[in-house]
Every structure is written in C-alpha cells, then in structure tokens.
C-alpha cells in the first residue's frame, strides 16, 4: 500500500497528483468519496489531477474527455482508452492506495515506467 497523505489534507472537490511511475491522481469528491486513477490522460500527456472534478467524473483539462473515477471508463474522444483505477482505503485518517497491477494505457510517447514521472 502506498501512503498518500492524511485525509484532512485533501478537501472535498480537490485532487492530488502522486508522482509515482506512472503518476496517479487521488480525488476526494464533493460527496466525500476518495478515489484514485492514473493521472495521465490516455490521449495526450495531461495531468487529470489538474482537470475538472464533477461528481464522480474528471474532465481532462486539455481536450475535455471525461473519465469515470470508479471504473476508469472514458465518455468520449479524443481519449479512447480507459485509465486504470486503484483501490483506496482510509486507515487511521491516512489515505492509502493499492496500485493496480494492470498495464497502464499511457498516451503515445509515454511508455510505462518512463515519461511523466517528474
């Protein structure tokens, strides 16, 4: 499990980018649910943590494809492939993420284990 941050440091409606490889984005919805997906849009290298959170969806800030935070599914092009989702637990007030073992759907030019991991 990856310790992300205390729950108290992630207010509802906010997102946090975790610079692991590949990076992930952890969201706390307005309703209080904490969810994690891959941070990088599957269309082009953009940070979904910088996107627009609405309900249980995040809209990519660059080209407006929306990803479902629970399933990773994308609603409409230009992104075509889903992002991975990661299981989240809050233990003793600490957000913890269990990283998915699936192969990530990174955009062209960003191979798994390289790229947007600054």
């Amino acid at each position: 499990m990856l310790n992300v941050c205390p729950l108290s440091e992630l207010p509802p409606g906010e997102a946090l980018r975790v610079p692991c490889s590949p990076p992930i984005a952890v969201f706390r919805t307005e309703e209080g649910e904490v969810l994690a997906i891959d941070d990088t849009c599957t269309h082009q290298d953009a940070s979904l943590a910088d996107g627009w959170l609405e309900g249980c969806q995040v809209e990519c800030p660059l080209h407006a494809s929306r990803f479902d935070l629970r399933t990773g599914a994308v609603d409409a092009p230009p992104a075509k492939r889903p992002v991975r989702t990661h299981r989240v637990e809050v233990v003793d007030g600490m957000i913890q993420v269990e990283l998915s073992l699936d192969t990530p759907n990174l955009p062209p030019g960003l191979a798994a284990g390289s790229g947007a991991n600054a």
């Binding site: 980018r17 990076p23 941070d39 990088t40 082009q44 290298d45 953009a46 940070s47 910088d50 996107g51 627009w52 800030p61 660059l62 080209h63 790229g115 947007a116 991991n117 600054a118």
Partner: protein, 385 residues
C-alpha cells in the same frame, strides 16, 4: 507633413494676438508617427474605459477589446471579480480569444497547443506540463492589466504603474461638475443600457473630442439639440463653465428628439440638476452626458490616425429597461447629434492632409478652451510626435 510641433509650445506663440488661436497642425491628425506617439504617451499610459460592467455578467463571461495596439481580454473570476489580461498566449503568442464576447465554463484555452489558463490567468494545464516541473504556473500565467470599476464600467490601464484613478479620471469629472457627488446623484452604476449604438467614424479621435468640447457648430448642424437647449445657439459649450448645465427650453418637456416628455426622473438627482444637460469629457476617450431621466455614455476607441470606433450607450433606470418602455425618442435625439457630429469630423479628416492645412486652422473665442486639450496632447506626446 512639414510642420513640426514643439513639445509644450504654447499655440498663442504661433498666432497673432487677437480673436484667433491656432489649432494643432494638420499632421497631428494624419501622420501615423504622431498617432503612434499618442498611443505610447496617452493610450498605453492612462485609464481607458473599456466595457460596461454588465457586459461581464458573471464568472467566465468575457469581452475582448482593442486598447491602443493591444487586444485585451476582460472576464470575471470565480469570485465575480473583474480580471484583465493581454490576449496573448504565453507559449508562442497566439491570440487566445478570437471572439468579441462569449463565455467560458472554467478556463481559457489556446486553440494552438492547448495551453490552458484559469479565470485568474494562471497556467493550469498544457501538454506535457507535469514533465516540465520548472515551469512556474503563475509566472507563465497570462499577463495582467490593471482594472477598476467605476460608474458601472470597467476601466483598464495597460501601464505597469497606472496613474492614480482619482487624480486623472475622477479629477476630470470634478473639474467639470465641481464635485463627484454631482455625478453620483445619477447612480450611473445601476442604470442599464436601453440602447447601444456602434459608430465607425473615419476621423482622427482628436477631431471627435474637439467637436464635443465646443458648441460653435451647434446652431448650424444640431437643429434638434438647439431646439431642446436654446442656449446652445450662443455657441458657448456646456463644458466651458464649471458646474453649469444647459437649461431645457421653456416649452421642452424632456430630452427627446421633439422635446416631448421623457421617462421617469432618476430619483437621486438634485433640484438644480432637473431640466438641465451636463456634458463632460474624461480624457482621453470618454464623454458623459447627464440629463434628468437618462445618461448617454460614449467610449472612443482610436483604431488608426483616421479611424475611431465610438460605442455609445443610452442608460436608463432598470425599471424603464425591464418594462420595455419606448426609449426611441430620447435615443433618436442623441443618435442624430452623434451622426451630425461624426459627419462633420469625417468632413474635416481629408482636409487635414491638405497643403493648405499644414499649419492647422484657428479657434474662435468660444473654442479657445480646446487649446487646453491641444497643450495636454502635446505634453503627453512629448518629442515623440
């Protein structure tokens, strides 16, 4: 274009003592270099009245306006505060917003490489941005311009160190009316545009200002206005005396094209402001006209040495606009005045480059106060002109 203009030169020195004073030389109205110097010394430096505050009705509503040589993007942030930016993408310089007005949901995005800025101008997203962590998102946000709201308008200043708004814009109003309370009485901020007319005038901006400052022409080209304000026939401009408003004629019921009754009086105005017309110039590009039931507000946008766009708003009490009352007879009066004035300015513009106007023309005594404006222009332009 052989005439030279000595900075700060007193035009009196250029003419014989007597009734007449010199105007600016012809080249001040036609020379692109002189116009460029005015952009540098005046329009890039001073507070410019850009848009009506209501044109930016909420977060993400935007207008783009050309001020001097720049396209300026005006919007409101999430808190509803007005923000102004140079409409230039910080990446490769593409014009960010091409539309004259519109609404964005959350951000302005450059259509070239998708650099994306929030309503406070901060760079919030760009392709590969997270792999360039050395890019400071505020430093590479949109360049701000200073903004200020007054009289229900958004005023902007392109200069990095704007002059005092009080000592410039508001002082021009005080110099004309005697105090700010006199204009506050009209509650212009809460009036609403009942009509807006856009005039594309093929004349130098100074001709329009000079024309507005004098009334020597009124009896000749403004028959309707002179009917409503008989004292205009004597040629003295309403702008000449501090605190003086031109009185309506005895038979006149309202500030309308035929003198018929106007609309409900603005509640805050004083008794001495009733049945009077006050006009003022706020340098460098605003005219404000006050009458008991409405306000006529001109914004001038000089586009070139021989072209000026004028946006004119007729502002009424909110219930007049909401109830759809007929405002056409008051609009028609000043629309006619505007067209008569702008026709006169367009008649002058081609002659400004005549060999016979190289040294300019003359001002009669009822126009002598225009020289204050000329001296001011020369002072602002300095030796650049």
């Amino acid at each position: 274009m052989t005439a030279t203009i000595e900075p700060g030169a007193h035009p009196a020195a250029l003419t014989a003592q007597g009734s007449l004073l010199r105007t600016l030389p012809g080249r001040a109205y036609v020379d692109p270099a002189f116009f460029a110097a005015e952009q540098d010394g005046i329009f890039d430096q001073m507070w410019i009245c850009a848009v009506r505050s209501d044109d930016l009705s909420g977060p993400g509503r935007f207008k783009t306006v050309q001020i001097s040589r720049e396209s300026i993007l005006l919007t409101r942030n999430r808190k509803g505060e007005v923000r102004g930016y140079f409409n230039v993408c910080r990446h490769r310089g593409a014009r960010l917003c091409l539309e004259e007005s519109g609404e964005v949901k959350r951000a302005f995005q450059c259509p070239y490489h998708a650099w994306t800025y929030d309503l406070d101008g901060k760079l919030i997203a760009a392709p590969n941005l997270t792999s360039m962590p050395d890019i400071d998102r505020v430093e590479y946000g949109l360049h701000h311009v200073a903004v200020r709201e007054w009289l229900g308008y958004v005023w902007v200043c392109l200069a990095p160190q704007p002059p005092s708004f009080e000592a410039t814009v508001q002082q021009d109003v005080i110099d004309r009316l005697g105090d700010l309370a006199s204009i506050d009485a009209y509650d212009i901020e809460h009036l609403q545009p009942g009509r807006r007319i856009h005039y594309d005038v093929q004349a130098n901006w100074k001709l329009i200002i000079e024309n507005f400052m004098e009334c020597y022409h009124c009896a000749t080209i403004h028959p309707e206005l002179t009917e409503v304000l008989p004292e205009f026939a004597n040629g003295y401009a309403a702008q000449y005396f501090v605190g003086h408003g031109a009185e309506f004629g005895e038979e006149i019921e309202g500030f309308t094209v035929d003198g018929s009754a106007g609309l409900g009086k603005i509640p805050g105005i004083q008794e001495e402001q009733d049945r009077r017309y006050y006009a003022m110039t706020v340098r460098p590009q605003v005219f404000i006209n006050l009458v008991p039931d409405h306000v006529i507000f001109h914004r001038l946008f000089p586009m070139a040495e021989d072209r000026t766009i004028v946006e004119c708003d007729w502002l009424y009490l909110p219930d007049v606009v909401a109830s759809g009352k007929d405002v056409s007879s008051s609009v028609e009066l000043f629309d006619r005045v505007n067209r008569q004035d702008f026709d006169a300015c367009e008649r002058c513009q081609p002659s400004m480059s005549s060999s016979q106007y190289a040294e300019g023309g003359v001002l009669v005594p009822t126009e002598h106060h225009i020289r204050i404006f000329h001296d001011w222009v020369l002072d602002r332009v300095g030796d650049l002109g």
